[in-house]
């Protein structure tokens, strides 16, 4: 994905008026400004800058960005959590920016699947490599994750089938092969996946008291 074609949404923290003058708030606002300028200078396509309010998730859903960038210390992160859960099956990278220039923290965050981005004076030339790494990392993670969940699902299915088979063998004194054939035949007749049928067999057995 080229930098320019990456559709980015930046989320700004909503600051209550009464706290606007506090130094850490000022620092957060300055960081956020510098980040946006840096992104634009690096040729990124910021499709929206959203306030981190209650409507943020709906607007992100409409915009469908490739990447969301938010201040690590923003309280709007919990609002985003909702979206993370809702789109579990089709996640997108969320890049956190922070002024924490401790490299070890950054490495740890990357390890944890969070793409942290260090804003140390925020030089424009640093943005691109960080976002590239974040994106690459996210894509690699996604691949691993989907492989893992496929494997897990297959394993769980196999276990279910084995259990249903065992149940039939025990109840009806069938050989392993006969039990399996019976399950398969039923699944075909009912137009169900073998694992789904096996689950039904187990559910019924549960209900009737195994």
């Amino acid at each position: 994905m080229k930098a320019a074609s990456l559709r980015i949404v930046v989320v700004n923290t909503v600051i209550p008026v009464e706290n606007e003058q506090e130094s850490h708030v000022q620092a957060q606002l300055a960081r956020s400004r510098a980040l946006r300028i840096g992104l634009l200078q690096a040729g990124y396509n910021i499709i929206a800058v959203l306030p981190g309010d209650l409507y943020m998730t709906e607007r992100i859903a409409q915009l469908q960005p490739d990447m969301i960038i938010i201040d690590a210390e923003s309280d709007a992160r919990d609002v985003l959590e909702h979206m993370v859960l809702a789109t579990r099956d089709a996640p997108r990278p969320i890049v956190l920016f922070t002024e924490d220039s401790d490299q070890s923290n950054m490495a740890a965050a990357m390890e944890a699947g969070v793409s942290a981005y260090v804003v140390a004076g925020l030089q424009t030339e640093r943005i691109k490599p960080v976002l590239d790494v974040a994106m690459a990392r996210f894509n690699a993670d996604q691949k691993l994750r989907s492989e893992l969940s496929d494997t897990k699902a297959k394993l769980a299915e196999r276990k279910t089938i084995e259990r249903a088979k065992g149940l039939l063998m025990e109840r009806h004194q069938l050989s392993e092969n006969d039990a399996y054939q019976r399950l398969r035949k039923q699944a075909m007749e009912k137009n169900l996946k073998l694992a789904d049928l096996a689950q039904r067999v187990l559910d019924v057995a549960d209900l009737l008291g195994a």
């Binding site: 909503v14 209650l54 690590a72 919990d78 609002v79 859960l85 002024e99 923290n105 390890e111 699947g113």
Partner: protein, 433 residues
């Protein structure tokens, strides 16, 4: 209902500086606690200097621990452990670290920026099971509090008769529109209380309402501008809605489940493995602080004075100190003394990390579709809730430990939860995902 202030402050109170480390990066933490009235640590509460651990094998491996907290009344035991010096007694220094979001608390626990945290019970299990993003083996060292959260409905709704769950269900039937309710994190405790309460009144939170996530300190402001009809959050933000005249208390969480588990002292399994003595010392120090808070009304007042400070919860003392004493009002003219107010200790009954408590959150995660399949409830709870560490810490702090790792409770809808048959329990609810 004003609180008694001593006539001569200087005799009763000493100003304590919270020893915040100025090298920390979070600017919010660079704030010294000034003028907050607290008893000066050691001598007064009878601590022996020199600590209770023998130098050598029991010595904490890591002496400085950063414990994250979110500005809520129930962060009190962590703050007081540091302010009153209970940490020193066990050879550690607790650095309370104010965080701005639960997501940030979670990430920092996972990547080790925080050693431990005041954290939502369900959040720990969400990370353990990989419900949202990061999956990591976590640990619950102790329960920090029972009770003391509530469900607030907007004044507008209350004026139309929605002053409790039944009234809300009726109004939602009569006046059809999109109703919006907020909690604090999809896997957290407030999401579970809100869902449970709505479902108990026949409202399906997944289908008949719009449920969103909002950071606790922003609840009141959002309700004020009409962004939402109701929310479930910890104190002081429910009392604050009443004080500001914008909301009413429709239910307390102790009405949903008397003495329910709420926040825990959470960390990662890796931390406990690497620093077992530190984990134990942390737990013991916070146990002492929990006992101190629950020991008297005077202590509770001092706690309220301390945590109201800008460095911690950042609100007025009055908003905190009513409900920690059990003095409740609903915002519609009704007042009552609630015996089941927020408990921090209750002779140690609060703090024991019951396996059944941890399992309950997983049953609800399953109920609402956050978990796609039944986990091995008991095995996961045994791995996460570190009863071994807790027992050692309780022995050091001389706190009684319950015999049984399960407890039985009857919830508001009459269902009994005792930790037996969790999968059947999760499936037993009429309204579920």
């Amino acid at each position: 209902m004003s609180i008694q202030t001593p006539k001569n402050k200087s005799e009763d109170f000493t100003t304590v500086e919270a020893h915040l480390d100025s090298t920390q990066t979070n600017l919010q933490r660079r704030h010294f606690l000034q003028g907050a009235a607290v008893v000066a640590g050691a001598g007064v509460v009878g601590l022996r200097s020199g600590g209770v651990w023998a130098a050598g094998s029991d010595k904490p491996e890591k002496e400085e621990v950063r414990i994250g907290f979110i500005p809520l009344t129930d962060c009190a035991s962590i703050v007081m452990a540091s302010v009153l010096g209970f940490d020193k007694k066990y050879g550690i220094k607790i650095i309370p670290t104010k965080e701005s979001s639960w997501a940030s608390v979670r990430d920092k626990l996972v990547n080790g920026e925080l050693d431990a945290a005041h954290v939502l019970y369900g959040l720990i299990y969400g990370v353990q099971m990989g419900v949202s993003g990061n999956k990591k083996d976590m640990a619950v060292l102790m329960t920090l509090n029972n009770n003391g959260q509530a469900i607030t409905l907007s004044k507008k709704l209350a004026d139309k008769g929605a002053v409790d769950g039944a009234g809300l269900a009726k109004l939602m039937q009569m006046e059809k529109r999109e109703y919006t309710f907020a909690h604090t994190l999809p896997t957290g405790t407030h999401a579970m209380w809100l869902n449970y309460w709505m479902a108990a009144h026949g409202i399906n939170p997944l289908k008949e309402a719009k449920v969103i996530t909002v950071p606790p300190p922003q609840m009141v402001a959002n309700m004020r501008v009409g962004n939402m009809d109701g929310y479930c959050v910890g104190e002081p933000w429910n009392h604050r809605a009443i004080a500001d005249g914008i909301g009413i208390t429709a239910a307390t969480t102790q009405d949903i489940w008397k003495d329910h588990p709420e926040k825990v002292l959470g960390t990662s399994a890796e931390f406990v493995q690497k620093y077992p003595n530190t984990a134990r010392a942390m737990t013991a120090a916070i146990l002492e602080a929990s006992r101190w808070i629950d020991a008297s009304l005077t202590n509770k007042n001092k706690m309220a004075e301390t945590i109201a400070d800008k460095a911690y919860v950042n609100t007025s003392v009055d908003v905190i100190n009513q409900r920690i004493m059990g003095r409740y009002q609903n915002g519609m003219g009704k007042t009552w003394d609630d015996p089941n107010y927020m408990k921090f200790f209750n002779d140690g009954a609060v703090n024991f990390p019951y396996l059944s408590d941890g399992m309950w959150f997983m049953t609800q995660h399953k109920r609402w579709g956050l978990l796609k399949a039944d986990p091995d409830y008991l095995a996961v709870a045994k791995a996460v809730n570190r009863i071994d560490v807790y027992k050692d810490a309780a022995a050091m702090a001389k706190v009684a430990v319950p015999k049984d790792a399960m407890r039985s409770s009857k919830l508001m809808d009459g269902s009994v939860w005792d930790g037996k048959n969790p999968a059947a329990y999760a499936a037993s609810f009429k309204i579920k995902a």
